[in-house]
């Protein structure tokens, strides 16, 4: 038996507000290590904000976040982040390999430049996402699915224990979606914790083993089979998910 493990992520009493309008109300969330977790909820439920709050990217009004029992600031090396594809300027003058290499910058620290080893790690990550042929491609010439794969490769080179991904399936083709799911599941097999902001309720049971239902408050969180119930869904989405009954 392994020693008892701490939660990969613990969120306690977290409230985030913009101008006194709460975006997240008093969220408690425990993410055990080694799960593949989907955060689902309607638009404006605060899914992206929750991820950003875990990463310290938005100011919190109350509460705290621990990564393996320690604050994010001392744990940042074990957390990898895949932001929404649309959050960056893809006309930036650089190529695919260079973007993936940015994942190594955290390990390098200030001023030090990437070495041959970093380059090799970046190439391995590109191979993993099936993009090695595109390493010299200018990033503005990538399709949406290819951009997403590049972002995923960039997170893979961080070699983290915990990955936070903001809508990695957004606007990608079916092949890319399958490829990304395979990589996420492989990460979980290797004991990594993966948290994904997800939109498509239809695929939750197929892709994930844990789920958090969010709508400003935390509605429910736990293993998919216990948590992903029509009752909880109705509570999270209101009356807007009649189609789920047919499943």
């Amino acid at each position: 038996m392994q020693p008892p493990q701490t939660n990969a992520i613990s969120v306690m009493d977290l409230t985030v507000a913009y101008h006194e309008t709460p975006v997240l109300w008093d969220i408690d969330l425990d993410v055990p290590p080694g799960v593949l977790l989907a955060i689902v909820g309607p638009n404006g439920a605060g899914k992206t904000t929750l991820i950003k709050a875990i990463l310290g990217l938005v100011r919190t009004a109350s509460g705290k976040v621990l990564i393996h029992d320690k604050p994010y600031e001392v744990q940042r090396k074990i957390v990898g982040y895949v932001p929404q594809r649309g959050s960056v300027d893809w006309d930036f003058p650089t190529n695919v390999l260079d973007v993936v290499m940015m994942g190594r910058y955290g390990a390098l620290g200030w001023i030090r430049r990437p070495s041959k080893d970093d380059r090799e790690l970046a190439m391995n990550a590109l191979e993993k996402v099936g993009m090695e042929k595109y390493r010299h491609r200018q990033i503005s010439h990538l399709s949406g699915g290819q951009q997403q794969r590049v972002f995923l490769a960039r997170a893979l080179v961080q070699d983290s224990n915990i990955y936070l991904m903001d809508e990695p399936f957004q606007g990608v083709d079916a092949t890319t979606e399958r490829a990304i799911v395979a990589i996420l599941q492989e990460l979980r097999e290797n004991g990594k914790t993966v948290v994904v902001v997800h939109h498509d309720l239809q695929t939750v049971t197929d892709y994930f083993d844990w789920v958090t239902l969010l709508n400003i408050r935390r509605i429910a969180s736990g293993p998919v089979q216990d948590t992903f119930t029509s009752e909880n869904l109705r509570e999270a989405y209101g009356g807007r998910i009649a189609f789920m009954k047919n499943r």
Binding site: F92, P93, T94, W110
Partner: protein
């Protein structure tokens, strides 16, 4: 002669010193901020002038750079209220600071040499007159030395923090999560831009310095997909603009700064039109070719669809082609000529027949 060479060197060093940080301003969509900084540093210069009574003291540069950074801070504070947007915040902040400078000049320095023309437009032609002497030895024009030091400062900062600057420019969120403090790099860059602007200000004035910062970087952006190359190109383009601008100004006896700025714009326009692949000309040429290629593909597919069938005689008759395809007759005959030139079809008498090449094109287009 020596004066000309000195002016030329001042122009080249000033332009490349401005062009390098300009790359990051262009990529971060902040070129207007450099405009704001270049105006808002005026009160800093005037106040420092009270104490030093000279325009070439290092204190002047420090005070002005401080005001430059203050501008950035004020703009960001206004923006953070979310009551107004960035453009309005810039538009409010720099005139406010600039006007303080204007009032100070008009009230206190009426009898001193600090005139508005020099502030707004600079005067490169007189720059060599202001010399730096240490222990009686003439080290050269002070503008050249000041800008030389600033150029080196820019080169050192950007080569040291190249990776960090690239990261915050491309993905500020990742930069923050990886533990690089984006605000630190941001204000470092803004301080650098302020210092560069003050230095360049002496030579080219507060209005044209923006041309030196934004112009070469925007031109280089059209020419390459690589950040390092963009930095090098930007410096080279800045230098070329300076040389060409100075030579033209000398030839026609007009304002040097004005000519350099005009050349900067003309250089941008020429690259915008002519650069291979991304220039406007090659884009429109490509669109035109695609239009004809596509029409040709429609034609060969049409011929293939009816090939060997009874109606083929009718369908592939040149004179009636436009009716079948619902094309303008003139367009139809142009497409036929295009396809004939490309040997995709051959003409016997009034009939069009597919060549092997044409058939391959049609078949490939259909399986896609």
């Amino acid at each position: 002669m020596q004066v000309h060479i000195e002016i030329l060197f001042i122009a080249i060093v000033t332009s490349s010193a401005c062009a390098i940080p300009g790359v990051f301003l262009v990529l971060r969509r902040m070129t207007l901020m450099s405009d704001a900084i270049s105006h808002a540093i005026l009160p800093g210069i005037v106040i420092a002038f009270f104490f030093t009574h000279t325009l070439s003291s290092p204190l002047l540069i420090i005070a002005a750079a401080g005001t430059g950074v203050l501008t950035v801070v004020l703009v960001e504070l206004l923006q953070k209220t979310e009551l107004i947007k960035e453009d309005a915040a810039i538009g409010l902040t720099f005139p406010a600071l600039f006007s303080v400078g204007v009032i100070l000049i008009s009230r206190y320095t009426r009898n001193v040499h600090l005139d508005m023309d020099a502030v707004l437009l600079g005067e490169l032609a007189y720059a060599p007159l202001n010399r730096l002497t240490v222990l009686g030895i003439d080290l050269g024009p002070s503008a050249l030395i000041v800008m030389g030091v600033i150029l080196i400062l820019n080169l050192v900062f950007i080569s040291l923090f190249y990776k960090e600057l690239k990261l915050i420019t491309f993905d500020i969120g990742l930069a923050a999560t990886l533990g690089f403090t984006p605000a630190l790099i941001h204000y470092g860059l803004m301080t650098l831009v302020s210092i560069t602007t003050v230095g360049a200000f002496d030579a080219v004035g507060s209005i044209l310095v923006v041309a030196l910062i934004a112009g070469p970087a925007a031109t280089a952006y059209l020419m390459t997909d690589n950040l390092t190359r963009m930095l090098v190109l930007s410096a080279i383009i800045g230098s070329i603009n300076a040389v060409v601008g100075y030579l033209l100004a000398y030839q026609f006896d007009v304002s040097i700064a004005g000519t350099i700025a005009s050349v900067t714009f003309l250089a941008f326009v020429s690259v915008f039109l002519l650069v291979p692949k991304r220039g406007l000309l090659s884009i429109s040429r490509r669109h035109l070719r695609q239009k004809w290629e596509f029409a040709q593909t429609m034609l060969v597919i049409h011929l293939l669809n009816h090939e060997g069938l009874p109606e083929a005689v009718n369908e592939s008759e040149i004179a009636h082609l436009h009716e079948h395809l619902q094309w303008e007759p003139s367009f139809a005959s142009k497409v036929v000529r295009y396809a004939l030139n490309n040997r995709c079809v051959s003409q016997d008498d009034t009939q069009l027949t597919l060549t092997d090449r044409g058939r391959t094109i049609a078949e490939q287009a259909l399986v896609q």
